[in-house]
């Protein structure tokens, strides 16, 4: 049988021209600038940087514009772009304890050193559509208050003093990197966190939610969520010292979970950790929930829930991989399908022949 293996170039060209036209839309409506996207769709930019695993606000804004607001497509564009650049090395670990705080809340201690500051949040809004935004609106200057410069001490630091919470993992000799080595299982916590940090927010949200509903319960408290600016430093071989590169905004979540203990160790709180680019609070919280769920085996807990299955979680968290495999189904599968069709025709012919030879066809068919 004949199967087309070539062709469609003109159709593809024209489809892409049509795409460019659809992207621009009505020419009487002003075109979006990257600065507008960066400023006014800032959380979309944050999400694209986070799951695209590349911190660059302008590139993320460009990707969103090019993708017509399809964030997974934009994430794909960023991932593809990063492969074109050389890597200079790895930064010094970010010091989130020295963060210039823009928001910090704790659901466990109300009187934390540094206090609770809400920052720019959707929390406590009524979720009623604001029709004044439909028109150009004048926005009030935000209120100000004296900042006392007190350091925002973290909940983990606070609890650690009394031995009520588990300590930190000892540093490993080598930091795993799944962009260099394909994932293999079991994966250490550093690799799991790298995977979750770039994982799909919706997928992690659903998994985190599933642990709350009983599929691998971890009894979480939002010990602390902080969002703000952190300085990045990079040890430059040629300069011979750690050079400050500038600052980035990140959200960090410290989940405090129910105790474990054993014969040699008193019961204490355990922790789940989330760290993401930008103001991505839902993602940071979901990441911390899933991080903690994935520690079930290490902590000697009962396993078996989806969020505790590291191969399941880590192999399906990446929305670029997922979209690649799901969306490839729409590409031509003519040869595959023709062979399936051929097989099916043969099976049907055999069935019909048996049918004709049988005296009780209805019974056979029911088997």
């Amino acid at each position: 049988m004949y199967v087309a293996v070539k062709g469609g170039e003109r159709a593809i060209d024209n489809a892409h021209k049509l795409l460019a036209d659809a992207r621009r839309g009505d020419r009487d409506v002003p075109e979006l600038s990257l600065a507008q996207i960066d400023n006014q769709l800032a959380l979309a930019v944050d999400r694209v940087m986070c799951e695209g695993s590349l911190y660059d606000r302008e590139l993320a804004a460009l990707a969103i514009k090019q993708a017509r607001g399809d964030l997974i497509e934009a994430i794909f564009l960023l991932r593809a772009y990063r492969t074109t650049l050389p890597r200079f090395g790895a930064s010094e670990p970010l010091e989130t304890s020295a963060m210039d705080i823009r928001r910090r809340v704790s659901a466990t201690f109300k009187d934390l050193p540094g206090g609770q500051v809400l920052g720019p949040t959707f929390d406590y809004t009524h979720r009623l559509l604001d029709h004044t935004l439909a028109e150009q609106s004048e926005v009030e200057e935000p209120a100000t208050a004296p900042a006392d410069g007190a350091r925002f001490k973290s909940v983990a630091e606070l609890l650690a003093g009394g031995g009520l919470i588990e300590g930190n993992d000892p540093p490993a000799d080598e930091v795993g990197d799944l962009t260099r080595e394909p994932l293999s299982f079991p994966a250490n916590r550093d690799l799991r966190l790298q995977n979750l940090a770039r994982g799909d927010e919706g997928f992690l949200l659903a998994l985190g939610y599933s642990t709350q509903r009983g599929f691998g319960r971890t009894h979480p408290f939002a010990g602390e969520i902080r969002y703000g600016e952190v300085e990045v430093e990079f040890f430059a071989e040629d300069a011979g010292f750690a050079v400050p590169l500038g600052s980035i905004s990140v959200t960090e979540c410290q989940m405090v979970n129910q105790f474990t203990g054993n014969g040699t160790q008193a019961p204490r709180f355990t922790r789940g950790y989330g760290l993401v680019f930008g103001q991505s609070e839902r993602k940071a919280m979901a990441m911390a929930l899933v991080d903690r769920a994935l520690r079930a085996r290490e902590l000697g807990e009962e396993t078996g829930a989806p969020a505790q299955d590291e191969e399941f979680v880590l192999s399906h968290s990446d929305n670029v991989q997922a979209t690649g495999f799901v969306e490839h189904l729409k590409l031509p599968h003519y040869v595959d399908f023709q062979s399936e069709l051929g097989l099916l025709r043969k099976l049907q012919a055999e069935f019909d022949a048996r049918d004709a030879a049988s005296e009780t066809p209805m019974q056979d068919a029911a088997e």
Binding site: V175, G176, Q254
Partner: protein, 159 residues
């Protein structure tokens, strides 16, 4: 990745001040740095041993904020190195893809190392940037502080 211990950098003079100057430059826009540099440009001659180059740095976090490092995601970074005719080598490493900024930062870093130029770099380039950055931060911090929650305890009738 093995990195030399921080003590390896100890023999560099004035490293704390130099890093502080680089932090101020990294937080600035290239036009702002250029504006300051124009005030002290009197026929500077320098070479570019490393012309500006865009690449990536893998950003690391720490598990639980203070534990073992892990790779959190990459950032675009531009680097450059310049050498003054008097020999000083300056380095520019900045987040983002602004090549001109990396070159200007490297130039400032080199000039800053020249004893009789440091004061001018401080006065013309760094001081205005510091002032501007401080004002911006002060506003952000004051606005953040206005969202601080003041809890008050509801005292019950008896005791």
């Amino acid at each position: 990745m093995n990195q030399p211990d921080a003590s390896a950098a100890r023999d560099l003079p004035d490293l704390t001040e130099r890093r502080e100057a680089l932090a101020v430059l990294a937080a600035a826009e290239s036009q702002e740095i250029a504006r300051g540099l124009r005030q002290l440009d009197d026929g500077l001659t320098y070479s570019e041993p490393r012309p500006p180059e865009v690449g990536l740095v893998m950003l690391r976090g720490r598990i639980g904020s203070r534990g073992a490092p892990f790779n959190a995601g990459e950032a675009t970074v531009t680097r450059a190195a310049v050498q003054l005719s008097s020999g000083e080598m300056g380095f520019g490493y900045v987040l983002g893809r602004d090549r001109e900024k990396a070159r200007l930062v490297a130039l400032c870093d080199a000039l800053w190392q020249v004893a009789d130029r440091r004061a001018a770099v401080e006065a013309e380039v760094l001081a205005p940037l510091r002032q501007q950055q401080k004002e911006k931060k002060d506003i952000e911090r004051a606005r953040t502080a206005a969202t601080r929650v003041d809890f008050f305890t509801l005292v019950r009738g008896e005791d």
